[in-house]
């Protein structure tokens, strides 16, 4: 009898767990709406943030002081964003603030970068491609091998599926000579062969030192970036922008964001004057032109927008946008005191997460538990109490499980 009861509980708990995931997932699919936040860009003419909001194909345009604009006014207020359209219309200004606008400079100084926590929280196969950074041809060519960098560096030849010992030793010795301490903590670079040029990889060694690793004329190029000890690198995103101003975006453990510039053979981190970014929950978006960068830092509840001077990355204006509460979150807070998910918007990994919403949602459990006390009169008193207590804890999923899994005792 005892074993039978244990098996009943196991089946009941299994069906409850399935319900804790499936019922909220169904409700979420039916009610989820994407958070509509206005598109924002800093106007180099007005020196204000301009917003474009779309509601059912209707656009509205306004600035951070509440002044509204027509579409025409909006387009001409953002010449560095709409330059193609304005050039076609013959409305592109020759200069802004006395600075002449060169089409080429306009193009190469365009920056577009987006950070999402899934960039960091994602599985990494641990193999990389090291391109020749000074290729003889105009475009990059596949080296024919991949490398791994953890306890040592090893190049694996694709044709033979064996380690290219000569090349591996060459790079291993160069790394050791440059002071690199194994094992590597992480390595980051852009593996895409279609990029305009190659700057290799940035790798954090066991001592927390950030190294630049690339291949120049078939030889290893290894340098310690010699960052200020105050900066503890947490993540690096290689960018390799068209104007070659910087290598990529560096994020430290305190949440500060930097660009890593080349400075006469040395490496200079330039901090963006924005609030710290939580790399595991926050999102960052940068849209830059040759005068200003518009930077958005989004958390779960709000979005901070910054206008930074492109040259110095110092803040010239800041605004805050409150994000609307998602319909799903409102419903979850009323129906499900707790529910199960396997996906996390901040990670590519699949894992069970138990979410607790609001105490007020417990009312649903209490009401269901009371109802269960009075219906199905054929049950024993003990069974009634058990069913109600179970519903009190597991709510809707608990009731469904009790209805599916019958206990005949």
């Amino acid at each position: 009898m005892k074993g039978k009861q244990i098996i009943y509980f196991l089946v009941l708990l299994f069906v409850t767990a399935v319900g804790l995931w499936a019922v909220p997932e169904l409700v979420k699919t039916a009610t989820y709406s994407k958070n509509r936040t206005p598109f924002v860009y800093f106007s180099s003419i007005q020196k204000k943030f301009l917003f474009r909001e779309t509601d059912k194909k209707e656009h509205s345009f306004y600035d951070d002081e509440g002044k509204t604009y027509s579409e025409q006014e909006y387009d001409t207020s953002l010449p560095l964003f709409n330059f193609r359209q304005l050039t076609v219309n013959g409305e592109m200004p020759d200069s802004i603030d006395g600075i002449a606008i060169e089409p080429r400079e306009l193009r190469v100084k365009q920056t577009m970068f987006r950070y999402n926590p899934t960039n960091k929280n994602t599985p990494n196969p641990g193999l990389y491609i090291l391109y020749e950074s000074l290729p003889k041809k105009a475009k990059l060519e596949s080296p024919g091998d991949l490398f791994r960098l953890k306890d040592k560096i090893e190049f694996v030849d694709a044709e033979t599926n064996t380690v290219n010992q000569k090349k591996s030793d060459l790079f291993q010795n160069a790394l050791l000579k440059a002071g690199y301490v194994f094992p590597a903590q992480w390595t980051s670079g852009d593996l895409n062969i279609r990029k305009p040029y190659d700057e290799g990889y940035f790798s954090l060694d066991a001592n927390g030192q950030l190294y630049h690793i690339k291949m120049v004329n078939g030889r290893p190029f290894i340098r310690n970036t010699q960052l200020d000890p105050q900066i503890e690198p947490a993540f690096f995103a290689m960018e390799e922008p068209a104007d070659k101003r910087f290598y990529g975006f560096l994020f430290d453990k305190k949440g500060h964001t930097y660009i890593l510039e080349e400075d006469g053979g040395k490496y200079k981190p330039v901090e963006l004057e924005i609030n710290p970014l939580n790399l595991d929950t926050g999102e960052l978006m940068i849209m830059g032109n040759f005068l200003y960068w518009t930077v958005s830092v989004q958390t779960k509840t709000d979005k901070h927008v910054y206008a930074l001077r492109t040259e110095t990355l110092k803040k010239v204006r800041e605004a805050e946008i409150k994000l609307p509460v998602n319909r799903w979150n409102v419903i979850a807070g009323k129906m499900f005191p707790c529910y199960l998910t396997f996906r996390n918007p901040n990670s590519d990994y699949i894992a069970p997460h138990l979410h607790f919403t609001a105490f007020s949602a417990l009312i649903v459990n209490v009401v269901l538990a009371i109802i269960l006390l009075f219906i199905f009169p054929r049950r024993t008193k003990k069974k009634k109490i058990f069913d109600s207590a179970y519903t009190l804890v597991f709510g809707i999923a608990g009731v469904i499980a009790l209805l599916i899994v019958k206990n005949n005792n």
Partner: protein, 222 residues
């Protein structure tokens, strides 16, 4: 007695096991032919680079095969038992009821496990001849939830097949299918790593489900 019981299960399932073996073998051979063709057409370097950048499925045809094997084997083993209540006769054998059910379950579970994991090992072994350890590891991460779905599907299908009441059987199918969908969530290779222990836990817990159905059968529920 155990030997006879296992032999009885073998008689019931040998044709299905044979068919499953041929399907797994055929799909395995076809998968390697496909990879060989890709190597010839695209070159191994490109395949390696694609594997680490685009995360393609190396053996996509195996996605639902272990699941199919689990379900088929459970149906072959237990549907005849429920027809004309033959299970009643089986449970009258001179062994404890739970021991009889456990032996039958272990037989089917063992077959699915063996078929799944020998195949998995052979696929990875074959891949390791032309691909580096990291890509083989990534492929293992990709295949593991699909191959764990085989034993899970067998145990869940056994729970459903041994259930004596049709209405309850349908009710069991709903959480059963939802639970099996956990093994097939769209994800990058390696993304299941933190979830694999939970899926293994689910397989272990699912071992008890068939006993719940046979208890109901013994209680005369129909």
């Amino acid at each position: 007695m155990y030997k006879s019981l296992v032999y009885k299960e073998w008689i019931k399932t040998r044709s299905v096991i044979g068919v499953l073996f041929l399907i797994f073998l055929g799909v395995g051979i076809y998968s390697f032919m496909h990879i060989s063709a890709d190597i010839r057409l695209l070159g191994l370097v490109n395949l390696w680079e694609e594997a680490i950048q685009k995360d393609p499925a190396m053996f996509p045809y195996f996605k639902y095969l272990p699941l199919l094997a689990g379900v088929l084997l459970a149906i072959t083993q237990y549907v005849p038992e429920l027809q004309f209540k033959r299970l009643k006769l089986t449970l009258h054998l001179p062994l404890k009821d739970d021991t009889i059910v456990l032996t039958m379950l272990l037989y089917g579970f063992g077959v699915v496990l063996l078929l799944s994991f020998v195949t998995l090992a052979l696929l990875l072994l074959g891949l390791s001849r032309r691909f580096p350890a990291e890509i083989v590891g990534t492929t293992f991460q990709q295949l593991l939830p699909w191959f764990l779905a085989g034993p899970a599907a067998y145990l869940i299908a056994s729970w459903i097949c041994l259930e004596p009441q049709w209405k309850q059987r349908i009710l069991n199918i709903i959480p059963g299918i939802i639970a099996l969908s956990f093994f097939f969530l769209r994800a990058k290779s390696g993304a299941y790593q933190p979830f694999d222990p939970y899926l293994t836990g689910l397989v272990i817990v699912a071992f008890s489900f068939a006993f719940y159905s046979t208890t109901r059968f013994k209680e005369g529920i129909q």
